[in-house]
Amino acid sequence: MKHASFRAAATTALSLAVLGALIFFLLPKYWVFLITAVFIVGIALQSLGLVTGRTGMISLCQMSFAGVGAWVTGYLNLIGAPGGLAVWMLIGGLAAVPVGIAIGLPALRLRGINLAIVTLGFAAAFDTVLATITFPGQTTFTQVVRPAAFDSDKGYFLFVLLTYGVIAVVLEFVSRSRLGAAWLAVRHSERAAAANGISIPRAKLSAFAISAFISGISGGLLAGYLGTLVSENFSMMQSLALFAVATMAGAHFALGAIAGGMMIVLFPELLRRLNLPQDVGNVLFALGAVQALSTGETIAETWMRLARKLRPKRVVEAATAAGSLPEKTSHPAGIALEVRDLTVRYGTVTALDKVNLKVPAGTVVGLVGPNGAGKSTLVDAIAGFLYRYDGSILLNGKALEGVSATSRSKLGIRRTWQTTRIAPELRVGEYIRLAAGPINESALESLLAWFGCPGPETPISTVDVGTRRLLDVAGAVASRAPVILLDEPAAGVSYDEALKLGERIAAIPETFGSAVLLIEHDMDLVRRACTAITVFDFGRVIAAGAPAAVLDMPVVQKAYMGVEFEEAAE
């Protein structure tokens, strides 16, 4: 992965350098000046793409953050602070961070729409405030001083391009890091992200803070570009238009951010030359955004898809074992997971009624029972996704009550879901790293090979559902957690694959050291994988013991098949 990050970053840097050189040497001064704005807007778009495109939270006040950065830059210019524009705009960006966090905080634990409302509210409030306090030096027409080395318009273009390049390259690294994967995971499913030990508030807040910082820098750059600023530069309408363009162009891609910047800057220029009113642009942006939202594909994604068609088709490569699997992790012996008198009620319905269950270290315990017996509720309770339950759950003898889902995952309880919840934008390797935390390249490769998964550079979106179920299990195993809860891992998997999966699951304790609680309807898989079985019906444990004996018990067969064995009993 490190290779891939460097390659992507180098590609970005190199293409920007070539593009910059072409613009700098070939275009007349007027166009260079105009295109400078493209890159400034591009930075603002990238900041929006980080929150909205990557993390899935709607932000409608991005230009207000830019306004904070610009205001601070203007103020530092006015008082003649040392360091010049480069330092001022960094301070401006930093000044926008607490504002971003303050706005992000109230929406942290709520759904994304609330953030849209609070950001729109902030944009409106910022408009009134800015109209009242005005920009520093606005009334005296004090120009923001550009850095001496980049004072001319062409020089300033280089300064902006350099800033854009640094931000784009850093973002390239961040987006391929575990943090970047966490953002995508949060956008796709917050619960699944928490089950992988990701702190949802931290992921959201970091996205918001970094985004505000970048946006603040774009504001500082704009201050140097225009010299003097007015509040209209950062009005709510600008934020809304930026949102529309980001949605249409796909601002979380480097390509989309540039394309969006070109639309915002060059479109009005085009309309002006055609003697058309410039606000037509906003109408087209709105329509474009609606179109992108309805197809679910941004302009950047469309281009990349078309470009991929031109390239020779890549075959999905299976992972090849580079080395041997690392040593199995040694966890404390004894009872790894214990459930004592667990009772869960949904209103008047009792989903689980004084359930007791033990998963000894080094074993695979099966949990079976008809639909609605309370199996998934048990997994939710153990993993910390239930708001309240009675009874207690112990990991290696320590009670977990009051511990959040994220913390339980970090302590060592991993779970999978009945339907796969892996963000399709990730690559196989990125997902395993997200689930596992720090893991070295050869361990990753050999783990994937052990499960028969595709190679780490394979995009999840090209992988079929059966394989994604395997990746779910592989991710949980890669974390080396003492306890792994598998919720119907074979659902949607073909019979042959299910048998293979059964063998793999049976081998998890001795290969990796984790104990497994396996929920499954496929009895062949259960027989193959489990050392003990517990049977649920209507929220109660009706049988427990060795697989063969338990599955032959009349009460179990009745629960599953509805067969009466009264005659046999008589």
């Binding site: 709520l110 729409i113 409302i117 409106a124 409030a125 529309a244 606000d279 709105a286 955004a289």
Partner: protein, 289 residues
């Protein structure tokens, strides 16, 4: 103190309008599952249609009726977009669509109404109703308040007691299931959009003369509207009603306090912040996450 009271009462008519807008926002959210950022813009379209007709010499009453109809039509248009392309989308995508549409609507609206070009906004309900502790209470305030209360109660009763109301509730819970048992889902959804459009248009007509009356400012009244809806947690009409009126009163009071009077536009934002911080206490894992 006296001047504060006067100012608070002056905020009453705005508060009534916010309440209506807030109730409309909840109505849209509960029944067609859209957090609608274009709500006030739809109303602004109706309001400016009324002004244009009035400027052309149409009698006020008739112009108001046509304006309300124009608001309903504008709502219907947004509803068509939402039901045609986004019926199956998640709440976040739908909200993004309305936020994007807001940009376009404001651009078109500003163009058609001549930007900041001043229009004459007739006072639909002029005059003072009565004096309360020495403060004039206008008919506009009384009307928006009465209207907001009536609209809230009517909506509640309609949803709770009528057959269409029952169908609408079914629609809001599971559109697909509602469709399978033979409810005309799309028609009902469009009806919701049209009704909220018309009502919003009328509410904005009453308070437009009190505002900086350009298309963009009226459209951005969606902020206090959503703040009111948040107070009602996007489910309680009554809480939104009270919340909307409170925001109006608060804005009025703030504008009377010298040093902060210019910042009264920030009031809805602060209310949103406070409400969200408060409502986070009980946040827990739900199906949508």
């Amino acid at each position: 103190m006296d001047s504060l009271f006067t100012a608070a009462v002056a905020g009453l008519s705005a508060g009534g309008a916010y309440a209506i807008l807030g109730v409309c926002a909840i109505f849209t959210y509960r029944l067609v599952a859209v957090v609608n950022f274009t709500g006030a813009a739809i109303g602004a379209a109706g309001t400016f249609a009324m002004v244009a007709l009035f400027e052309l010499g149409m009698p006020l009453l008739l112009a108001v009726l046509f304006g309300v109809a124009a608001g309903a039509l504008a709502g219907l248009a947004i509803g068509l977009v939402m039901t045609t392309w986004f019926a199956g989308s998640n709440a976040s995508t739908k909200a993004a669509v309305t936020a994007a549409l807001l940009v376009g609507i404001i651009a078109v609206g500003l163009r058609l109404t001549g930007g900041q070009h001043p229009h004459y906004f007739p006072e639909i309900i002029p005059g003072s109703a009565f004096r309360l502790a020495g403060v004039e209470v206008t008919w506009a305030a009384v009307t928006t308040l009465v209207l907001s209360v009536a609209f809230t109660l009517l909506t509640e009763q309609f949803l709770a007691r009528t057959r269409t109301g029952l169908q609408l509730r079914a629609l809001s819970q599971r559109p697909m299931a509602a469709e399978l048992i033979g409810i005309r889902v799309r028609l009902l959804a469009l009806g919701v959009w049209a009704v909220t459009g018309g009502v919003t248009a009328f509410a904005l007509m009453i308070i437009a003369p009190l505002r900086s009356p350009d298309f963009a400012s009226l459209s951005l009244l969606v902020v206090p509207a959503l703040a009111a809806a948040l107070i009602g947690a996007f489910s309680s009409f009554r809480a939104a009603l009270i919340g909307g009126v409170m925001i109006g009163l608060l804005e009025g009071s703030v504008s009377a306090i010298g040093p902060v009077s210019q910042y009264r536009g920030a009031v809805p934002f602060l209310v949103i912040l406070a409400v969200l911080l408060w409502s986070q206490r009980g946040a827990r894992w739900d199906e949508a996450r």
